[in-house]
């Protein structure tokens, strides 16, 4: 088991499908994880939620949902999917219910990336 695979397992993320997406290229996967950690969409999401801006929050959540899903961050992807569905209809209060879970899972993902 590679270090990356072990880190995915430790954080409950989906290594198998993710490495399949990069056609077995771990170096590429590491680069993509670094890009995810440096991506500004999470900050945009929290800012938009703070400002009750459902449109911007939707854009940021949708983008994060896509990239987290592609990178095998299963739990974060699930939470963001729920949040995106609320924001699609402008339901900020509904989205707020998922905020703590989103923050927890996002931080876990970034921690995993930092551990590599």
């Amino acid at each position: 088991m590679t270090k990356l695979e072990a880190a995915y397992a430790e954080y409950g993320m989906d290594y198998s499908n993710t490495i399949g997406r990069t056609a077995g290229d771990e170096e590429l996967l590491r680069e993509l994880l670094d890009m995810f950690a440096a991506d500004g969409n999470y900050a945009l999401l929290t800012e938009a939620l703070d400002n009750d801006n459902a449109g911007d929050a939707f854009s940021a959540a949708h983008s994060l949902k896509g990239s987290s899903g592609m990178l095998g961050m299963t739990r974060l992807h699930r939470v963001l999917s729920n949040m995106t569905e609320c924001l699609r209809t402008g339901d900020i209060a509904g989205a707020e219910k998922f905020r703590d879970a989103a923050e927890r899972e996002y931080k876990a993902a970034v921690r995993m990336i930092g551990s590599l």
Binding site: N17, R21, T22, A23, L32, S59, G66, S67, G69, M70
Partner: protein, 236 residues
């Protein structure tokens, strides 16, 4: 070779798509755009500039459906595989109205992308080779996924016998028998068989596991190495 364009604003997803599409020797990436307006400008300048567009839906400015609508308005008859996390029916329905070839939800896996490429190839082959549109041909055009084997392969990339259709296998075998001793690239075989390269390769890999076909790599293509298939016979 089918010229392929990616329209995707997310750099991470774009990198994954580029890597994935690189697995298919029949596709050649000829452009990447982060905005639909840039892709539209490309097609306005080059109406026949690609055979396949791999398209996201949610992008800044013009979205994927608006882009497709504009493409169809100017009669760009390119095949489109949408790869998106947009899972609401209104988007899927609009995409279907714009004549997409396939709709793949993120996060996709490699096997599903392979199906999409197989579907695209079947469609292209049909359009290229059909002069008289019979009901069968129309049915295939509307449901190309029903006309190739989409079952996953077993470990080691060799299809299990249960996933191999006997008639198709005999057709492939008959074609290879006619070309015994010839070293042929996959594209030549799939064109000769009028099967997609995905399906042709599946049967050739199966025949390879039986010792009937040799597979070697041609590294002198000037690009990606290409698999070369040679029929050896059934008794060797």
């Amino acid at each position: 070779m089918y010229r392929t364009i990616i329209v995707e604003d997310d750099l991470m997803v774009c990198a994954i798509l580029e890597k994935q599409l690189g697995r298919f020797s029949q596709l050649r990436l000829c452009g990447k755009f982060r905005r639909c307006s840039d892709a539209l400008a490309y097609f306005t300048e080059n109406p026949t500039g690609a055979e396949l567009v791999v398209l996201d839906y949610f992008m800044p400015g013009m979205n994927g459906i608006e882009f497709l609508t504009e493409l169809r308005k100017i009669n760009i008859d390119v095949q489109v595989i949408m790869i998106t996390s947009a899972n609401d029916y209104s988007v899927i329905r609009s995409a279907m109205c714009c004549g997409i070839c396939d709709y793949v939800l993120k996060p996709f896996n490699s096997a599903r992308l392979e199906k999409a490429v197989g579907r695209f190839e079947t469609t292209m082959r049909l359009i290229k080779n059909t002069h008289v549109w019979t009901q069968d041909k129309v049915d295939t055009l509307l449901s190309p996924h029903k006309h190739y084997n989409v079952e996953p392969v077993s470990e080691g990339g060799v299809p299990s016998p249960g996933k191999i259709n006997k008639t198709t296998l005999e057709n492939v075998r008959a074609f290879m028998r006619l070309n015994v001793g010839r070293k042929m690239p996959l594209v030549e075989i799939s064109e000769g068989l009028e099967l997609s390269t995905v399906t042709s390769r599946r049967y050739l890999k199966y025949m390879n596991s039986l010792g009937e076909v040799n597979i070697t790599l041609d590294c002198k293509t000037g690009g990606r190495p290409s698999e070369i298939f040679e029929y050896r016979g059934e008794d060797t």
